[in-house]
Subunit: 346 residues, 4 copies
């Protein structure tokens, strides 16, 4: 499809994004062109917007930002039979090689040649996006478009939560950003016995409580390790979902665990070094720390889809919705932490 | 049985052990009295001998040291039917409570009320030892007594190695102390494709090579991460058995892993803080770190016994054997690192 | 405690049970005496009552029947510290040896020397029961006593359901007897996407619907395999919980599964031979059939307890409650199938 | 490449194959043309040759038979970058759809749209074969070409054996056809404690002994269940690799298992009904039966490749090698059972 579209573009290696008119992207034989209906802001998007040091080497302007979206398939390339025009879709944002060891052993989510839309190639903060058709997930036509735009981060939550047992377990969630918040209804739905949330931002801590966290702690004010131990008869929690990337929270997380417990770690620290008491907190209590990357392709998507169909409701976490033009307000909200997920409508 | 026996006793809160005559221990209704045939020196024993700071609070003199041993059952308490006089035995050194959550869910090796012989109660550097009969493992009468004395640390090696897949895998062992060395014939026997060992001590590095390590690296001289990557086509190893407790080795270990690989961590750092690149080395590559404590009771013992019966040979690692009287020479060998396992004969 | 009590006794090798006065049982040093507050009827109890051929060899009259109960601890033996008088308890009915390979490897539920109360030794259809204290599970004092009497069969349901993934999965339950019925709220609570139940008895099928089964099928009237395939887009269900022991249901169960699915099989056929299409239904689709015995000791009990604390409600399945004197009416209900769980009050 | 080649063709719906000259196959954009260096005969090939009833509906003449082969890549289609001319290859014989639930969740080996070369499309009993490049596995140039032709059935053995623990385990192999025989060196290499083989054919039973089976039983002469129990102290074996498809062997296999053991079942019965004692042999002892289909794509291939590189030697099982022209002699050998794997050289 030829023509022009609005898009949020990182035009130069500096803070900010620019709303500008660009060409509607072309599609190759394996791609689909999708009309973007809703797109949500990820922490990564904010880091790119703010031009954080950790992204300065990887991002090559000009680049259309954004990777979380829902939309409608408009056109498909000649080799495509997995989706068709009219399909309402969400997208896996990792474009994988299909040939490396990881891809060939059921571990595409850790493909060693991954490229990511909105990071390595043009993204979805735009009216249209071109993406390999393989990366699309067809939703029920009736799925709310804002919820659908958040299927990708919800998939992070699902992979993290379901990386270990949930039913009948006591689980701590360290960090109540949007993905941490999504874990709360998810854990409740999957039979968790007790949900303990730690978060420093008051808005998010309050939202955690509304979503049904049994205990919600501000670790700047209370000792989450002592509280988690007390809430579990002194034993410690069965699992920790590490969503913050904060070194202190990671350290508290391993200390909260009972012997033999699991930490599933999705949060990425902004700096490299995290110091842990490896002997007393990992070796002797025989705990497991598992890194969580992206979403299992496509097991996590089937699970996420299934949970939504079974009634999982993340809409209270989609706290803000605004026209794409207002992206700067959305980015400010992300910076403040006084929000759940922020959705932009192109 | 009444009478006197020789024993190595920590008589006061200070370095050293004293060979002295003490009472043969009494047994309770659930205990067995074992004539010690061979006892081997663990790193823990050396730390107690040297009166390292980390043990000064836990050890309450007077205490007979030592926990690894083989021997013959002489007498049993009235409730005992699991062993009988004449049985040749090795021993699990963790005395567990049988009633905590861990004990009641198949995780006795992480019992929250564990006491350890030779640490919390009198040990086996003596002619006789009293121990709960439940803690004994009956060996084939023909099993070499020195090998039998090392069943407990061999069990550490077995639990660590078999905590993840071995067959057809490339595995790195970081640290070639006695337990790290035991991993080499064990991994070969279980079908490992490639074994990479890192160790700074020349004697142990040489022994690792003789035992069949495919690659043996001194990380003070070569870059183990680069070598491990090169040896695996750039991907990284499937598994790391962390046996050193050295912060640098732990860091190198996670960096050696392929995405999705596993580190099974037995080595305990002498200081608390180990700093890791949590995001780039754990979260993004989705690796798993699992702490390994003791031996699964008793799955690990069945495995260890089975591997010995199937031909596992650890005798080359039992490099030194001497009368118990010569324990100071044995401790010096441990301090130097120029040894495998040192066995004392009471 | 000395004295007399009422009990339901199999007095001779013939159909029926006799309500009679017998001695209150003595307790040994490891036992507890429990005042029975509620006791529920298992299919096994009915088979013993009816003197089915399959039990004629095992049951040695005189025997007090019954194994599911809740009660209050009155007295404990001298070695007991795991419970104390006044504790409100349910009981694991498998008395295990603690020394066989199974017991020593975390698999007590398949102890090769198991004895079962009410089958091999006197049971709980009585005012008092003596049982090893190790077999008791302490409940919250406020737990409903009838629900508590059904903790043991609920544990069967929990072990079966949680033997594989539940969250986001489509699960079929073949057979809606009391344990099959318990699976319905359990599966819903643990995030199942779709629950399909097959059952021939109209009363139970109706109860299954009330409990929230998405699809409830009478296989005498409709084809459950075709319906299960249709409900899953032609693929088949992710899991089957086999609760009936009916050869036809087992065969339908494996045919309902998607490739790679799991059947967790608790139901025991009344006759020995079950004929399956082993190649087309098991090998080629790579399904897994796992036999489920009893309850994992004690992992299943922690899970069951946790789910009850998190709100699991099985009370609608406790359809009938009556004085122990009316046991013949209870047995008739069991024979008719027009009931859920029947509870007797001593 | 244009021209003619020799091939073994099922020319009509009747017993036999015909050696005839046909066109060298064309390749599509995703295919590779491979010069066949060695091809081995599978039981499936024999069934097609013999025109067994079970294949009469599926096979549509004319069809070139054969699916196990090694060869050299000659040409590749325009989209292919995964292999290149000159590569020495083996092939996965399942051509999968990449879009069904199974393919998208790491379970390609149970793709619901699988086509198989030599069964559904032209195969490799020919001088050249065209196959999707995705299906090729690149071998070390030095790998023996006959061994390489048997990588596919060896992969069956690897997937079956490694579907559960092997190290330190006692394992029974029921059926010593070529794949069952391959399990013997494989199990030994992966640390099995004891290997018990059952087989009715004397030639194969003898070969099993030569390969190192600890116990080799002819079930027509001895009771394999009693012998397996005796060899394991009465407990039963930890695992059974079911390779025969014989109903009696499947029944004996489940009876040989210890409680909690696993049967990994690859053998396909020639008739539909296999009758098992589902209650006493599966439910009560809590065993697991897992069907094994093909090879995990591509985890099994990495494992198989790794084991060969680590020294796995299956050459004693390649008992016969002959020119492709002598295929009828090869088929007679297969019919008699007096052979291991039979290799044809085009």
């Amino acid at each position: 499809m030829q023509g022009k579209m609005k898009a949020l573009v990182k035009t130069e290696p500096a803070p900010g994004l620019t709303m500008k008119e660009v060409d509607i992207p072309a599609i190759g034989p394996d791609d689909a062109l999708v009309k973007v209906k809703a797109t949500s802001i990820c922490g990564t998007d904010y880091h790119i917007y703010a031009w954080d040091e950790s992204f300065q080497e990887r991002i090559k302007p000009p680049l259309i930002a954004g990777h979380e979206f829902s939309g409608e398939v408009l056109e498909v390339g000649e080799n495509v039979d997995i989706v068709k025009p009219g399909d309402m879709v969400s997208a896996e944002t990792h474009i994988v090689c299909h040939t490396c060891h990881q891809c060939r052993t059921g571990q595409m989510h850790t493909c060693i040649n991954t490229t990511i839309i909105g990071v390595d190639v043009d993204g979805c903060f735009a009216e249209y996006v071109s993406i390999p058709a393989y990366n699309l997930w067809v939703n029920d036509p009736g799925l709310d478009l804002s919820v659908a735009s958040a299927m990708e981060p919800l998939g992070n939550a699902v992979q993290t939560a379901l990386a270990g047992p949930v039913a009948a377990q006591s689980i701590a969630v360290t960090g109540a950003g949007p993905i941490g918040l999504m874990c709360i209804p998810l854990l409740k739905m999957c039979g968790a016995q007790k949900i303990i949330v730690t978060e420093v931002n008051a808005y998010r801590l309050n939202l955690a409580r509304k979503l049904g966290a049994d205990i919600a702690i501000n670790p700047a004010e209370e000792d989450p390790v002592a509280i988690a131990k007390e809430a579990t008869g002194g034993l410690g929690v069965d699992g920790v979902l590490e969503m913050s990337g904060a070194p202190a929270a990671i350290d508290q997380g391993v200390k909260m665990l009972r012997p033999g417990g699991r930490m599933s770690a999705l949060g990425v620290p902004s700096k490299r070094g995290v110091t842990l008491d490896f002997g007393d907190d990992i070796v002797f209590p025989a705990i497991t720390i598992e890194g969580i990357a992206g979403r299992k392709m496509w097991e996590t998507w089937y699970q996420t889809d299934g949970l939504l169909k079974a009634g999982l409701d993340i809409s209270p976490i989609l706290t803000h919705e605004m026209p794409m033009e207002d992206f700067e307000r959305g980015m400010e909200l992300m910076a403040s932490g006084d929000c759940g997920k922020v959705v932009l409508i192109p």
